[in-house]
């Protein structure tokens, strides 16, 4: 379980995450939504110990991420951010192999190679496995990095806007993959999503943030409602039921 207790982060005078107390107890896929600057990515970074909190604490299975050894956390939690700039020249297989580092400490055994091969197949990266990252399109590279996070084989998987750079088909494929990881492999996935309809369609729980605070939390049926979303984004939103899922229409 991921919990935060009065978690706070400031950049200069502005408070980006404002005393967020949150409990993500539900297994499955949790989506963080909200307008730009709401603090979604920062909240994810704080939980993933990529940023230091200015106040409060984030706990993963009761372990404070600020004080627990990073290498111990790495076996429980993987976090993937948006920017993937690499100076080193790596093949896709090398990159995915790095996901095994917390387990292999750089000396991969047959078990690690099996996991890498499995992840490559799951993400349909077999054909690209020996290509270098700088030879790939943005979407392919995105998938390679997601594959690395999956290869880390952690219970918690934190992803910051994994659908960036992806076209419709690939975005759906990634969400379906996360769904599979949650349902079949028992992973707990926390994902920052821009597209609220992806959140509505694929997640078990949605946390809506605005101005660094949690304004709504619950299953899609509770959060994907016109009054919640209009309040959240400040634009008129209508919600329709299509094929058993709630779809928000907000194009004005």
């Amino acid at each position: 379980m991921i919990t935060t207790d009065s978690l706070t982060k400031r950049y200069g005078p502005s408070t980006v995450v404002d005393e967020v107390t949150l409990e993500l107890a539900r297994p499955g896929v949790t989506a963080l939504i909200g307008p730009n600057g709401a603090g979604k990515s920062t909240l994810l970074s704080l939980v993933g110990r990529l940023a230091d909190a200015d106040g409060g604490a984030a706990l993963v299975d009761g372990m404070d991420v600020a004080t627990t050894r990073s290498r111990d956390l790495a076996k429980r939690m993987a976090i993937l951010r948006q920017e993937h700039h690499l100076e080193a020249r790596l093949s896709v297989r090398d990159l995915v192999g790095f996901g095994r580092f917390p387990h292999s400490r750089g000396r991969p055994g047959p078990e690690d190679e099996a996991v890498v091969a499995d992840v490559l197949t799951r993400l349909s990266l077999d054909d690209l496995a020996d290509r270098y990252l700088d030879e790939l399109s943005g979407g392919q590279r995105q998938r390679a990095f997601i594959a690395m996070a999956l290869a880390q084989d952690t219970e918690y998987l934190l992803l910051d806007e994994p659908l960036n750079n992806l076209d419709l088909a690939h975005a759906v494929a990634i969400m379906r993959l996360l769904r599979t990881a949650a349902d079949e492999l028992g992973k707990r996935v926390v994902v920052v999503l821009h597209d609220i309809n992806f959140a509505s369609r694929w997640s078990d729980e949605i946390v809506a943030l605005a101005d660094g605070r949690v304004v709504a939390q619950g299953p899609p049926a509770e959060v994907i409602r016109p009054e919640v979303l209009e309040d959240l984004y400040g634009v008129p939103v209508s919600v329709h039921e299509v094929d058993g899922h709630r779809v928000a229409v907000y194009y004005g």
Partner: protein, 347 residues
């Protein structure tokens, strides 16, 4: 999750990229072989430098040449390894400790010692002996503290642009050199002469005591660093990915900077500042064997040894004009630096 995941890439773009990468790609497939060959050539070059064409009074010549080769190898390894690691933790291929003014810092420390403690202190260092070695160790200690503080501020503070770090490095380097110059102006001529002598010790004339202690320090540092080669590979993925994989990024970077400070002190103490040499051999290694540190560290070292030893041999025995090797290497490295910078600007 089926075949529809494989995104269609515009063929034209793929082909162009492939051509660009062609040569490096073929080479990087066999990094072990290339590293092995480079190391063998490096050893052969050293042996050749020492043994080929020994004059009649061979005992004296042998001793002199061994000393020169030892200095060349130590400097080569120190510069190559410090550059590769520095570039790994700063996630770039252009910045080097030399460019960041780390060696200027060493010169300042050295000048400050003469300024405040008198030329006698440095004379002791140059003359060798226990006092000299101790003084040198103190200087290295000061370097480690200053560089760690500098990198804390520059590399680990607010996230900074590479361009800004380069700019700050150049400015800090200039500042350090100016302060050094001011202190030197205020020295009496005799002290200044001793100091000057210690700066421009060339590859041919290095004190034996300094050599011994440098060798111990470099070997010890190298042994520790090679044990952490896998961690460096992870560090090269950047702060966020490394953290996710369980590497304490801040601590790792600080330790690497300590090692870099030690190695820069060794090479600067032995032969004075060399700015672009590290850039040259590190990038050569990346092209030849890729970025995995188990190959890039030995390969860059081997390339550095080959460059220095063969260069020195050519200068000594073919062109017959003693010193000046660093000038030629700096020319090559400087051209590469400009090429890399321009290449990046185009991207």
């Amino acid at each position: 999750m089926s075949a529809d995941l494989a995104a269609p890439t515009p063929t034209r773009r793929r082909r162009r990229k492939k051509q660009d990468a062609g040569g490096a790609r073929a080479a990087a497939r066999r990094p072990g072989l290339i590293t092995g060959v480079a190391l063998t050539v490096a050893v052969l070059a050293c042996a050749g430098f020492v043994l080929v064409d020994l004059p009649g009074a061979w005992e004296y010549a042998l001793r002199l040449r061994l000393r020169t080769v030892a200095a060349l190898v130590l400097v080569a390894v120190a510069v190559a390894v410090s550059t590769v690691l520095f570039q790994t933790v700063t996630a770039n291929r252009i910045l080097t400790p030399g460019l960041m003014g780390f060696d200027a810092l060493y010169l300042l420390v050295q000048t400050a010692v003469v300024f405040f403690a008198g030329a006698g202190a440095l004379g002791g260092a140059a003359g060798g002996g226990i006092a000299g070695s101790l003084l040198w160790l103190v200087e290295v200690g000061v370097m480690v503290v200053l560089i760690t503080a500098l990198s804390r501020w520059l590399l680990l503070g607010a996230r900074r642009d590479l361009q800004i770090v380069v700019l700050v490095g150049v400015v800090v380097g200039t500042l350090l050199r100016s302060v050094t110059t001011i202190l030197q102006r205020m020295l009496d001529p005799a002290s200044f002469a001793v100091l000057q002598d210690s700066f421009f010790a060339s590859f041919g004339t290095v004190e034996e005591d300094l050599l011994t202690i440098s060798a111990v320090v470099v070997l010890a540092t190298l042994a520790v660093l090679l044990a952490f080669r896998h961690v460096f590979d992870v560090l090269a993925l950047g702060r966020e990915a490394a953290t996710s994989l369980g590497v304490d990024h801040r601590r790792a970077v600080l330790w690497v900077m300590v090692a870099v400070a030690v190695l820069v002190s060794v090479s600067t103490a032995l032969v004075g500042p060399i700015t672009f040499f590290g850039l040259l051999v590190a990038n050569l290694a990346y092209v030849a064997v890729g970025h995995a540190h188990r190959w890039s560290i030995p390969a860059a070292s081997a390339f550095a040894v080959i460059t220095l030893v063969v260069g020195q041999w050519l200068l000594d025995r073919v062109f017959d004009f003693g010193t000046g090797l660093s000038i030629i290497i700096e020319l090559g490295g400087g051209v590469l630096f400009l090429a890399l910078l321009l290449g990046r600007a185009r991207l």
